[in-house]
């Protein structure tokens, strides 16, 4: 299977008054056709900024993609001009955000917002676009589609708005859908329906999904391949089953341990001690060292690189190095 998205050595920096924040630091990942890749990690680990870098949403003056390659279908997005990018965005790559309530324009009707990408990318007439928009509302499981098309965002619930966002995203049949915590703002029952719908659309259309989440339950349910991020770096990646059965990095182990297990009451939910490091105070080291139970001397002074760990997994941890360098 071919790679729809290939990210290599991506670095995205923010130049703030206190210093440079390396929000994304030398990150690589691939998404193959028809595959769901999940990026997991605690809040602040650079998941959203990775997605935004792909979409070209990191804006100056503070933020800048400092280096790397983001190839979509073999084309480097970082080298494209504004207009070329515009024809890809919303058309071949779509994105949905965490907050459906604020992602739609409050003064425009739902139907109008659904029609826009169709008119823009599919060159549909207004009439055809409206017809398709109403069909799409039905396809995301909302009844009374005509009536919904004529209502304003504030008249719908969060779950319905997220369905609309999905409808907008899939309207031009993209090859890649990036979903940044699409269910985090929703009730649990709605979460499941939304994820289910995403998977159904993926199966019907063969698109790929880059799903960002901090919820391992979502990962277990959705992912084919998992990328674990911590403080702007990939610390471990692998096929979902292998990674869940045999996590290698202490951070991944911690994340898995902190996930509640069904039908198995624990006295107290485990959580990884400590906090994500301040991105301004990072020194050459394993960024996880001060929270790691297996921390060695070398972890404090040198950064481990991502290496094959067998079983299709890759991990960046000194524990996995055969020979400990001096």
């Amino acid at each position: 299977m071919s790679n729809v998205l290939e990210i290599e050595h991506l670095s995205t920096h923010f130049h703030t008054e206190e210093g440079v924040v390396r929000a994304v630091d030398d990150v690589g990942l691939q998404v193959r056709q028809g595959e769901i890749v999940c990026i997991v990690g605690e809040s602040g680990s650079g998941k959203s900024i990775t997605a935004m870098s792909v979409m070209g949403l990191v804006e100056g003056p503070a933020g800048r993609v400092a280096g790397g390659r983001i190839a979509f279908d073999g084309i480097d997005l970082l080298k494209l001009g504004r207009n070329e990018l515009r024809t890809i965005r919303g058309n071949e790559i779509a994105m949905i955000f965490q907050e459906p309530m604020t992602s739609l324009n409050p003064v425009l009707k739902i139907g109008e917002q659904l029609m826009e990408p169709l008119i823009e990318h599919r060159k549909m007439s207004k009439k055809a676009a409206r017809k398709r928009a109403i069909e799409l509302i039905g396809e995301v499981g909302i009844s009374r589609a005509e009536q919904i098309a004529d209502s304003y965002p504030h008249e719908l619930s969060g779950g319905m708005l997220q369905r609309i966002m999905i409808a907008i995203a899939i309207s031009c049949e993209p090859k890649l859908l990036i979903a940044d915590e699409p269910t985090t703002a929703l009730d649990v029952t709605i979460q499941a329906q939304i994820l289910d719908m995403l998977r159904r659309f993926k199966e019907e259309s063969g698109m790929s999904i880059l799903l960002i989440t901090h919820d391992l339950g979502v990962v277990a349910e959705m992912a084919d391949y998992v990328v674990v991020m911590y403080a702007g770096k990939v610390v471990e990646e692998g096929e979902v089953v292998a990674l869940f059965e045999n996590p290698q990095h202490p951070y991944t182990k911690g994340l898995l341990k902190s996930k509640p297990i069904i039908n198995q009451r624990q006295d107290e939910l485990y959580s990884i001690p400590g906090q994500v490091p301040n991105p301004l105070e990072l020194t050459p080291s394993c960024y996880f060292h001060d929270r790691c139970a297996y921390c060695m001397d070398i972890c404090r002074t040198q950064q481990p690189v991502l290496k094959d760990a067998g079983n299709g997994q890759k991990v960046a941890c000194w524990l996995n190095e055969e020979v400990t360098p001096v």
Binding site: L57, F97, L104, L108, E120, S143, S151, M160, D196, G217
Partner: protein, 310 residues
């Protein structure tokens, strides 16, 4: 996680619509405006002034402005409800005709400054950078000079250059919009800067929409309430400024009557004391119109732009 076990997406059909659909925001705003008694009073006064000035003269026998020495400075009577002036002209007819000019100047200069201010504000706020700097420094420059002295200078120049009095009305409109647009441009720009950071604007980037669509479909509709409110206040301000200018003989000149130059014509001790019907009607018209517009504008702002308090 237990939450992951989902039924088919069809279950969402049960999710209810939160409020009655189709009750658009505009209709809601209108309903609230209609309930605001003070604002409606303001609106009624403004509407009355417009109707009186534009329709009233059609029913008056004295609109020819003919000089009639037989009835100089007559006090109000059944024949001349507001009396006559020093040239024997009917004051009521003149106040209404003057109102046509004053209201037209106010409206036209508002339209012009709203157009220029919105355009420049939108461009500055949307493109930022050098364009923004240029536009905003120009606006700041105009804002730092108090507008009345600036208008006086313009007016004096017009007199110096002997601009024909027929054209002066149009030039006064232009002058008023030159001092009117910067404040508006600045507010529109501020609003744009805040709007462009909204998540739904990021969404339009992600959707690959053209700038034109982003501007006209997504940003402008969000600016409309603000623009309506500022425009309303702007009319009041323009009417007042025009009156002041004309009062000082720097705006629209006789024989074209405006409320300002009518008061100016009565600007002497004798008229002030003995012929109050010469200056009270135009003075009251200015006062009532401007106050009413501002009260209405306040009401509009409460309805359309509740977050923004002066």
């Amino acid at each position: 996680m237990s939450t992951i076990h989902a039924e088919e997406a069809g279950a969402a059909k049960a999710v209810p619509v939160r409020t009655a659909p189709h009750a658009s925001m505009w209709r809601q705003s209108l309903r609230r405006l209609l309930k605001n008694k003070l604002a409606m009073l303001g609106f009624a006064v403004v509407a009355f002034m417009f109707a009186a000035c534009f329709i009233g003269p059609l029913f008056s026998p004295y609109t020819d402005n003919k000089i009639n020495m037989a009835v100089m400075n007559n006090a109000p009577s059944l024949k001349h409800w507001l009396g006559t002036d020093a040239l024997g002209r009917d004051v009521l007819a003149r106040v209404l005709l003057a109102g046509r000019i004053s209201l037209t100047v106010g409206l036209a200069s508002m339209v012009l400054s709203v157009f220029v201010g919105t355009l420049l504000g939108v461009i500055a706020g949307y493109y930022r950078g050098v364009v923004d700097q240029l536009v905003m420094r120009l606006a700041d420059l105009l804002l730092t000079i108090p507008s009345l002295p600036l208008l006086f200078i313009f007016g004096a120049l017009l007199s110096e250059w002997k601009v024909p009095t027929d054209y002066r009305m149009y030039i006064v409109m232009l002058m008023l919009s030159i001092v009117g647009w910067p404040g508006l441009a600045r507010m529109v720009r501020g609003q744009m800067l805040s709007l462009r950071e909204r998540e739904y604007m990021q969404a339009t980037v992600v959707l690959g929409l053209r700038d034109r669509r982003k501007l006209f479909n997504h940003l402008l509709p969000n600016l409309v309430p603000l623009i309506i409110v500022i425009a309303t206040f702007n009319i009041g301000g323009a009417i007042l400024s025009e009156s002041v200018l004309s009062y000082f003989g720097l705006g629209v000149m006789a024989p074209t009557p405006t409320w300002g130059n009518m008061i100016d014509a009565a600007n002497n001790m004798i008229d002030f004391q003995d012929h109050p019907w010469l200056w009270i009607p135009p003075g009251f018209s200015i006062f009532a119109t401007v106050i009413a517009i501002n009260i209405f504008g306040d009401g509009l702002r409460d309805v359309l732009d509740p977050k923004q308090k002066r």
